[in-house]
Symmetry: C5
Subunit: 323 residues, 5 copies
Amino acid sequence: MIVDCAHYADGKRQHKGPIEIGEAAGRCNGAGGFAWVGLKEPSKDELEQVGKAFGLHDLALEDAMNAHQRPKLEDYDGSLFIVLRTARYDDAKEEVEFGEIHLFVGSDYVIAVRHGEASELGPARKRLEEHEGLLDAGPAAVVWAIVDKVVDDYAPVVAGIDNDLEEVEDEIFRQSSDSTQRIYFLKREVIEFHRAVSPLLAPLESLQHGAQPGVGDELRRYFRDVHDHARRIDEQVSSQRELLTSILEANLALLGVQQNEVIRGISAWAAIIAVPTFIASIWGMNFEYMPELDERWAYPVALVLMLVAVVSLYRFFKRIDWL
Amino acid sequence: MIVDCAHYADGKRQHKGPIEIGEAAGRCNGAGGFAWVGLKEPSKDELEQVGKAFGLHDLALEDAMNAHQRPKLEDYDGSLFIVLRTARYDDAKEEVEFGEIHLFVGSDYVIAVRHGEASELGPARKRLEEHEGLLDAGPAAVVWAIVDKVVDDYAPVVAGIDNDLEEVEDEIFRQSSDSTQRIYFLKREVIEFHRAVSPLLAPLESLQHGAQPGVGDELRRYFRDVHDHARRIDEQVSSQRELLTSILEANLALLGVQQNEVIRGISAWAAIIAVPTFIASIWGMNFEYMPELDERWAYPVALVLMLVAVVSLYRFFKRIDWL
Amino acid sequence: MIVDCAHYADGKRQHKGPIEIGEAAGRCNGAGGFAWVGLKEPSKDELEQVGKAFGLHDLALEDAMNAHQRPKLEDYDGSLFIVLRTARYDDAKEEVEFGEIHLFVGSDYVIAVRHGEASELGPARKRLEEHEGLLDAGPAAVVWAIVDKVVDDYAPVVAGIDNDLEEVEDEIFRQSSDSTQRIYFLKREVIEFHRAVSPLLAPLESLQHGAQPGVGDELRRYFRDVHDHARRIDEQVSSQRELLTSILEANLALLGVQQNEVIRGISAWAAIIAVPTFIASIWGMNFEYMPELDERWAYPVALVLMLVAVVSLYRFFKRIDWL
Amino acid sequence: MIVDCAHYADGKRQHKGPIEIGEAAGRCNGAGGFAWVGLKEPSKDELEQVGKAFGLHDLALEDAMNAHQRPKLEDYDGSLFIVLRTARYDDAKEEVEFGEIHLFVGSDYVIAVRHGEASELGPARKRLEEHEGLLDAGPAAVVWAIVDKVVDDYAPVVAGIDNDLEEVEDEIFRQSSDSTQRIYFLKREVIEFHRAVSPLLAPLESLQHGAQPGVGDELRRYFRDVHDHARRIDEQVSSQRELLTSILEANLALLGVQQNEVIRGISAWAAIIAVPTFIASIWGMNFEYMPELDERWAYPVALVLMLVAVVSLYRFFKRIDWL
Amino acid sequence: MIVDCAHYADGKRQHKGPIEIGEAAGRCNGAGGFAWVGLKEPSKDELEQVGKAFGLHDLALEDAMNAHQRPKLEDYDGSLFIVLRTARYDDAKEEVEFGEIHLFVGSDYVIAVRHGEASELGPARKRLEEHEGLLDAGPAAVVWAIVDKVVDDYAPVVAGIDNDLEEVEDEIFRQSSDSTQRIYFLKREVIEFHRAVSPLLAPLESLQHGAQPGVGDELRRYFRDVHDHARRIDEQVSSQRELLTSILEANLALLGVQQNEVIRGISAWAAIIAVPTFIASIWGMNFEYMPELDERWAYPVALVLMLVAVVSLYRFFKRIDWL
């Protein structure tokens, strides 16, 4: 699906609404400026049409078709192919959803291909269009706007995971329920998230240090800012990973504590039943000469004795905290 | 076994069907172009014959004889010796099978020696023969085609392991059976797979950066593509390794949970039997004056009392979730 | 809130008490020297006023507004933006409180923005004002004084955590109570503290090696001193992290030891009750010819027998250390 | 003990049998070529005699005296001092035995000092003497032959450990016996083995890259081969280390599984005894009106009832797999 | 306390017994050579006196006052400040005691400040005075002698820890007592020891490579020797750390094994009591027609039956190794 296609020159959009891809490519050749095409999960035909119009490299096009790339920045003789992994915290399912954005960047075009729901690029385009100064910097500014959006969208994911983490801590230390499964799947998500963020750092560093042409001094500062955010995210994710490992271990210890408590409680109750049973068994013996058997008071006394045994044991176990 | 032996010049195969090794070597000397020999688990004689015909280095030939090399790229005065480890997921046994491919690459020959079933090279040869442009690049193109095939064949292995991983997660969290052994052997496979993929990254990077002569700009882009796939595989394998470690720990915690449950259940049943036994023991005492013993209703009442005790305890333990 | 704003020239403060920000900026332009402005959790207006007066960069200003930055040193065409994370050990809560200090450093100004209670900068200013020689070195000396204060303030935090660690060791090895939760939250704090200290090392190293202009030889030695302190802190934090991991594991082992002891003790008591119960059940049998049943001495002897059994078992279990 | 001492020139040994050390040193000075002296656990006197004859450095001699060096390559103004750690798998004790070889290498001598049984150097000498071409390369060829022998001798050690590892896996997963101790000592050996192999990689790399004079192109290829073998060994050792860690964890989980089984089995048997005991206790009550007590069929029926209870419970527990 | 203060020139001590600090400083200025001052836990006055006499840097002096520095080598315009951490194994307490040595090194003085008991420097001074050749090399030789002494003194500490480690292994695998606490504190010591040794490697490497002036070729070889020893120590400490982690895990597994044994033993004894109790309960029933009750032989037979049950069960459990 083609979301938007526009021609920018002299620092602003040259028309309202989207135009045809062919027209965009043509305008750039003629009138200068650059085209910015936004696609969402495009069909093979759409991709090929765009590829032909702007002369994209086959290998990159092939990569853009399927959505399981690792974040990277590749240079094709002056044109760039950038892969970003997007992330979105789904509050309802308490899960992280991953997507991808592929960027083809030339001197007079930016083509953004989005897979998945995360990080809609509409707002990034709007922000840039309203901020004329930046558009002067050409396609590099668009790259910055998109990367900035993607990295900014990581923050709520980290916050969501932090929240889950705190819930899990609560569950565990209040021993309300078994959280092993939740911890495990949280860890699984954090590992995957780490795989989305971490390979992004090297390309961002190379953009910040001006390794790519067309990135001016001012823009490099903006990329440094994004790089810095990405590193903060990456450090937070690392901390979360380490915390989750510690939680799993703490969980194990708490299970041991809990088991000790259960065993103590059970044993206390066992003793509370075993002692009066033993008492009863004494007067169940069939000796001829058991003088107390003939006494009227003996039976009630025996019952009372049992009761006293039960109550004393109960109190005793209560005091040593086994019950 | 000699699988195929062909002479390529001017970007295409010069004949149908295989030719003799001696002839292939001779043609290259005379008419230009290069020979591509494919061997599968060759006998010592076959290897020596090929070695003599193309003048291969002794140390490399010795390495090619036995099939337990680590992935590497070695330079012998302009000729290269490359070792690749192949992998194949055996669906029936749910196991990963490893093999090896050894490549001797000179300016006018490529000799590929395959050990094990994984990564048949027929398709790679066919693809290259049908894609004339690439064959112009000479032996380096053949190297690319083979490495690309090997790395592409890693993907189903990763998928197979991912699938096993999900099955194991299911088994564990539904507590259907003990999966410790399966997790362990899965981890063992992942460790070995990592050893196959990881040492490949450095040689691929050197090919991508043009450290070897005879690798043109276009081909370097193709190697970059392969390198990128290999890195993705490597990152996935690392994640799997970490996940398997976490699963082992989660498994331990779940065993603790399970044990707590078993102990509670058992204790509940113990109580359910112990209480009526105690009741019976009371009226088993031999006191003279136990007035209720003489009552007609006493025995049925006692039985009912026991029943009530049993039912109440059962309900109680059901309610606190011990049963 | 503006804490203090002063103009320094010729190595000393040019006036008593704070002056207006505009005046400070003006004086620097006219009479040389530099301004040092101290802000605490400033409002957006205050920040913008300062930003305008000294011409600070937008991106840095934006960062200074919100207090969740990672420690860093950024260069904006000769002016620096430095983020420090401060820490304070709250004795009452036995918790570490984190804050932040953001520094804008130009050739004729230093603006310090503090978030959180930790590391008040008053003492650093006083120390520098009393130590005229250093003020000659200009803004870099102020940076040193502030960084030195922040790093010095880490020491009591490390000491506080060390103290907690020893308390936890005591608790665990005297098995007085379950410390899992405390260990976990201690580890959480140590991880966060590590995130505050560790990213600071690289900027400090670059200051020590004179990568920034305006840092003279003498001052570089002072920065080396701070760098060294920060590294010591960082190594201590790493040790604490590793110790906490070991404590969690030791805790697990001790729980196992404890459980073994509980099970043994319980079993001993079970035996002490079960044996006399069994003895009683023998004479509870209804055989006709049980000659001892008719003896006068039999019942007392039976009771004594039970007592002997109980006492012997008790002594036995005491001896093998199960009780 | 002096094992052998010979003078080599023009690519071959100049005499049969060993000669005197003094003579060997003299011949080299006079006639060119180089001396190769092989010592095994030499006395202090022997070492000093050799040291004087060839002018070895004091520090190196001191090191060679005691046999607990780390693998290294040290340069003393053109002469080299190399320490190698040898390893041998003792099949009888299933243990790895470590030894050391110290090499003094000058332009006209190689002195090899061996400690421990592993890696006898006789075969290396024989191989080199029979392979004339290599001896032309002088002392460097001898170094290669010795290092190659030492590294080749690592392979059976790795195989032996692999074998132990598989036996341990078998023991654990068949739960035949407790293997904790064996796993631990296996890990201890692997850690020590790693310390023998890993520091060797850097010196081998420097030899491969020709950092030492007197190592020609051909010989560098041979050193590359050795380096490659050593890296493969090192990677295998790393895998073994990781596997042993996983085995310890799997072992822990299996102990948990086993304990759950034991507890279930025990509980089942407890139930099987407790139920008929309870049944018996019912008819042990002394109520006056228990009509069944007077029936002739009652006792046999009671016994049958107990039997039925026992058999049903047994079957039930068999079915739910507790027995 | 000033331990010794001497003036060295022309490769030997110029006088017997210590001289005044002022005199030593004066002599060096006048007559050449260098002064070597040894202090032990000096008072502030003593340090300041020395500082003034030799013109030491304030920052270094401040560091030398308090004894919690990390090992380091700092350059102050040609003069060096070196911090070493010393270690001593206290056999009585089985603990490692740490101390510190601070060195101020100029072209004509070495001032050594020792904190703590470990690594007395008297022997190092004596050794150097008796070894004239080395003293010619000036202050650098003194640095070598002191560092060599400190590193040599690490060896008995490593040996002491190794010994403890073996004792712990013994305790654990003979299950004689709970060693968790001992393992933990051993690990704590190893971690601290690692912090003493590891930061020393970088300065030693820089001394070995001649990064500091005044270190001649011969002396560099001596520093290489020390560096090598320090690295061996460091590798041993790393191994010990890893072994201690493995021991903690093995300990956990052994606790599990032990618990399984305890539970089995207890259950066996429970069965041995429960079965005869059940037998007795059968004949405790009050049925009218229990023919065996009237037989003379019945009671002895019942007792024998119980005995047989007990003995058979005992033998059975012995055979399956539960007792």
